[in-house]
Symmetry: D3
Subunit: 288 residues, 6 copies
């Protein structure tokens, strides 16, 4: 008798056969306002049972796609360095096997070690960042490692003009100034995405989506809801464009905090975005 266990979309693909590797990074220790993103990967995996594997948008089916669900990392709360290093090593291991890591946060700080791992392999790495917030503070109440500083820390690694930000509608005055000068910050929506994709097209790309880029009406289940965001279709189209045009080497979606939306609609939105991204990666892989 074999144990029945949950996996994302009930995938049974083994690591060796997979092109993409999903895993959860249940960490939200630096979240200053409202914690809970730690529960995202667990709840998403569990609820993925309720979503069809077929997409009428792409006319493709997850039962054909080759992705491995590695489960969730066990991360130390209260020791940020230790937790981030565990993520970095895990992402590096997936990259070393020439597969695409697809991380499910957790708070946004989990992106930092994943970017670090990708940068270790790809020195000319670019970063596309969808978010409501700039995440460009240099420190938050004295802490250099925080969900509010993560893109600033990525900029420390990647340098000027290697990052592009979209949908941004919240931050300090100084962050917006920094962003305009050095990280291709595009406020409020996805205007300018195509020219960035053109500019980044010959470089390996890390793609991070903070789901709070969505309007809170669509996605209330997040720690810091910010009115004035994009619609589901706008995000879906933009994400599809990025995957279609760019040379993705790693990606993540972060900041679902499922318990703040007991209707389950936020989790369902996150899962649909995930499904379409997995399918678009699969379609692209097939068309190679």
């Amino acid at each position: 008798m074999k144990a029945q266990r949950e996996s994302f979309f009930a995938t049974e693909t083994e690591f060796d056969n997979a092109n993409t590797v999903i895993f959860g990074a249940p960490f939200d220790s630096t979240t200053s306002f409202r914690p809970g993103a730690r529960f995202a990967s667990k709840v998403m995996r569990s609820e993925s049972f309720g979503l069809e594997t077929y997409s009428p948008y792409l006319d493709a089916d997850l039962t054909d796609a080759k992705f491995f669900d590695a489960g969730d990392l066990e991360l130390t709360f209260g020791d940020t360095n230790m937790a981030l290093d565990d993520i970095r090593k895990f992402v590096a291991e997936i990259l070393a096997a020439d597969k695409i890591p697809f991380m499910i946060g957790g708070e946004h700080l989990v992106t930092l070690p994943a970017v670090k791992a990708a940068f270790e392999k790809y020195a000319d790495l670019r970063l596309i960042h969808f978010d409501a917030h700039t995440d460009l503070r240099d420190d938050y109440l004295g802490a250099k490692l925080s969900h509010a500083t993560v893109i600033k820390r990525c900029h420390d690694i990647l340098g000027d003009d290697k990052i592009a930000q979209f949908g941004i509608r919240s931050g300090e005055r100084e962050e917006f100034a920094f962003g305009k000068a050095r990280t291709n910050l595009h406020p409020f929506n996805f205007e300018g995405l195509e020219s960035i994709l053109e500019k980044f097209k010959n470089y390996p790309l890390y793609f991070t989506i903070d789901l709070d880029v969505l309007d809170p009406s669509v996605f209330p289940g997040t720690g810091t809801p910010e009115a004035g965001g994009v619609t589901f279709i706008e995000l879906l189209n933009a994400a599809m464009k990025v995957i279609e045009k760019a040379d993705i080497v790693a990606l993540d979606i972060v900041e679902l905090s499922p318990h703040y939306d007991i209707s389950g609609a936020s989790t369902a939105v996150a899962l649909k975005i995930l499904r379409e991204m997995l399918l678009e990666l699969f379609v692209k892989e097939q068309n190679k």
Copy 2:
């Protein structure tokens, strides 16, 4: 002393004076994912006290309309056939009195016995179906009678080309294929509704609205929220068009699961749709 009791919109119309008969079908026994639609009619009746009876959209008032609230059926959980048969008989009784049954689900499977009853009276019955899901599976984990198979079962009764589906954005690949071939499946929105209304105009019509056709931002209170749905105004306009143009003989709205939206907004949306539908039925009746 007379007992004070709740009724939909505080109607006091008797059965004999009514053109339309509302009743609840509190059944959700085949719901595989998240149950709760059984509570819809009770909560809607109770909350209908908070909604004005006057519509500024139609400049009409429910205090003028003649509808009877029959209350809720008492249905057996765990014996699907028995429950469905109780619904069928009740709908038949209303139809026999030449009144329009307006059923409040419950999960979507409750539509099947109502369609059956309508088909027994009207052999050339047509069906218009608004939903996020095709509901065209042939069985669900072996069960032929399921919320996921209900339109397939209706097709068993009505046959090819008698059904039209709108707003559909979720299903298996095979369901979409079946729908395109045999049930006038229109994905995502209400495009094509007018030509279907033209095509069906000389036939008696059953009209069923699975409220999850709405975007989850508008209607999170449902068992299986599906991102990418229609707006309240889109649904309202489409429903008004169907009632105005078609020869409605029976109708229902299903799949409100009120406890998943503690704000009450989903229930309020369902009630406003119900009010406008009742008023449009009334306006049409008056204009005869």
Copy 3:
């Protein structure tokens, strides 16, 4: 050692240095349907910690604006006259110091004593009212003082043609008739706002926003959600226009009922509207 205490957006401005005075009016005693607006000012103050003080819309920062947070009034529940009189006196005190009172409700009835105080100072006062509901009943179950009668009571004071209403989509037939005849009632949205602002431009203005003018998808946290409302951006733009063009002497936002939206998104929306209004008042003051 000094006690640390919460204030709106952590303001430390003293009363004497402020142009605007925020205070809470935690009263919802006449709410017939679902109470809870009493908690709005307390929850908003507490959550304001999570919102940036900088606005990328206006490129302005609350740390520059001069507003005083007076805290919450302690109002008597169960004795409506006593509670309203306490509000009236408090608003009068602020007006007497030539500052702008910015009241955070509470239910909509709190607007009445504030309008009364403003009218005592400004005999030619005008009123602009954003709301889903007409609030034009003459009494509610026999009570003259009710959230459902508040604009009718304001009309008793101000008279015909001194009030303009926008976004209205719910009320009795008689209320709509009254509104059309005597209060410049504009249904559903903000069409006609510019001509009203032109008409009212030389008069002192009281500006009241019942936040349920927003669609429930954006703002579910309110006592009586009404489908078919305006978007966040529509409300924001309309409010900015009013503040920019009119001679505001007092204002309020009412009817957030925070516990009905556990995601916190409704509170976040209310706070963003509040921030932008404070900033626009500040920008205008600076440009004088």
Copy 4:
């Protein structure tokens, strides 16, 4: 076709055949802290479907008892005097028909008009009061009519030594002093109940239970939970004793605020207490 409607425990007894008349008084307008008791009678009626009519404690069945469910009064929020007067008249009407009114609150202030009506019929009325709170303030923030003053107001009517209080564990110093001097205040539990019953035995009795006398572990669904209360069995035994020994002419249970306990356990406790009280009244009636 007859409309199906909910009644308490599905009773179909008519007023004329009933000994006891249940009705709801959905009023909580003076509740200063956390409102919601207005929802109690509606939720209890609805959930009473889930409770067996048979009591293994008393070996008696509600299907045998003769009680009428009059429904809920429609009370004016925001005008306390009007609401209380409507209750008083309704209770007087039941008493005039020589039946026992059994009121379901609402906040505790609803007891005042019911006591008034009973006192109008029975000049030598006594009052037994179970509660966590003394309710003996003379005013609350200036209001004489409040949930916090209700027993003081009853004392105004009945006078010294006509009231007995049990389970009391919260109040101001002055209230405890007053209670000890003039209302037979028994703190914390039911010690002394038997001697009070002996003392009151030849007088008509009004019996009021504020359910927050229960420990919050048993009954969290109330506006002001007070640790250190009695158990379910202690309350049940005490209530049974009162009904058995005293000459009950009217009674009530108040202060269930069902939405604060989403488990439904508080409502279930209230219903079981209600069932046992109705049955004990019935058993006593039969033994006459």
Copy 5:
């Protein structure tokens, strides 16, 4: 790379090495009142991460015990016979391997097929039943298979005097009569347990615990909370006694409905009971 997956208490024991086999039976299709027991096994497995494996009560540790977590069955909603038969076959398979099946419900009806499977192997099977409810109806709204009839159906199989019931405090008059005559019904608590254990001691025993035998203060997370139940320690001691004294061949715990208790306390109670039962089974096995 190996996938990380959740199991009960993180067990990694394989089937072949296990004495006991845990599995979930996520079925609640006949629940008439409030569904949700279907979520119990999933939530318990997930939350078991938060409970220590060591018991200070028994001074024993789950890391030593040999139990296999088979995962959850995938059961058909809406076709009760099919679902029950899948359970029966699965239990039979475990029994055939000479292991003890430990089923996590689900509603109480899942006990029926498990008892059937055990009876097929052990013709002299006895049943001990802890519950708030008799579950002795012969049918429920016409359905023979229901959570309210399950022990009656077990009696159909096992016959008179083979069943003993404890903690019972709710049911119809006829059920209590039947129970007293034919199923050793012990009301309210565990009095008489020792003499039943003496009587049943030479027979194979099925042990079923409906967790609503607990008082709702301890265990609010259940479909039908019944005031007046036993404490955690009383249940723990009684369950330990049964396992210690009886010859257990199969067992279950049912009717946790985790979403009705958002504090998680009910799930934690269920897990602690489960841990202690597993450990006592282990201790007994070791002492053989």
Copy 6:
């Protein structure tokens, strides 16, 4: 005009006049399971408005007691050392002014820096610890600073036999062994408290209460509910005894996670414990 601000029990005492200083330590960054203790002090302060200042247990009133509410510390999430050091300095500052710090957690780790500060002043410090959990791990997933290691870290400072633990019912086998050998661990309840108080009576004492020592029925609002705990009255009596007999130099109550108990009962329990402790400190101070 002066700003109205919330303080614990509306105290207006200044620091210089106070004997006791309450402050919040909103930190829960190492909580591995379910976060939320960060919200405790804010919610308790806000809800303290609903609790009477008078205690019928002690016949004493908080309006007489001299305590200062310093507000909440602003602590860095994600950098544990920085946060703990901020607490240590703040406690040292209060101790330096010869006042008693009364800290409101936060998770249990906040006790460590407070003990450190007290130990710096009192080299012969003793510690009494009420808790469900031993908190004696040496590390938690590699982290030395964790809510699960806090008493082990205190032992590092204070040494053998300086700590006494009560109510403990959860931990690893090794923790119980360590506790029995070196920290006077008393399992399950308060047996042995009197002899410990006798033993510690001539030493300065730090008193820490993890509120999860209470049974979850009484106190579900905590991160890790553990069945089998003590009652409210048991905890109250034990705490009163400690304050009465010991030479308290600092104290705390921790691990209320208010959002897990939406009834508010857990917060109310915590507040009542706090009130009684403040009053007992006051009574003792007066009797000096």
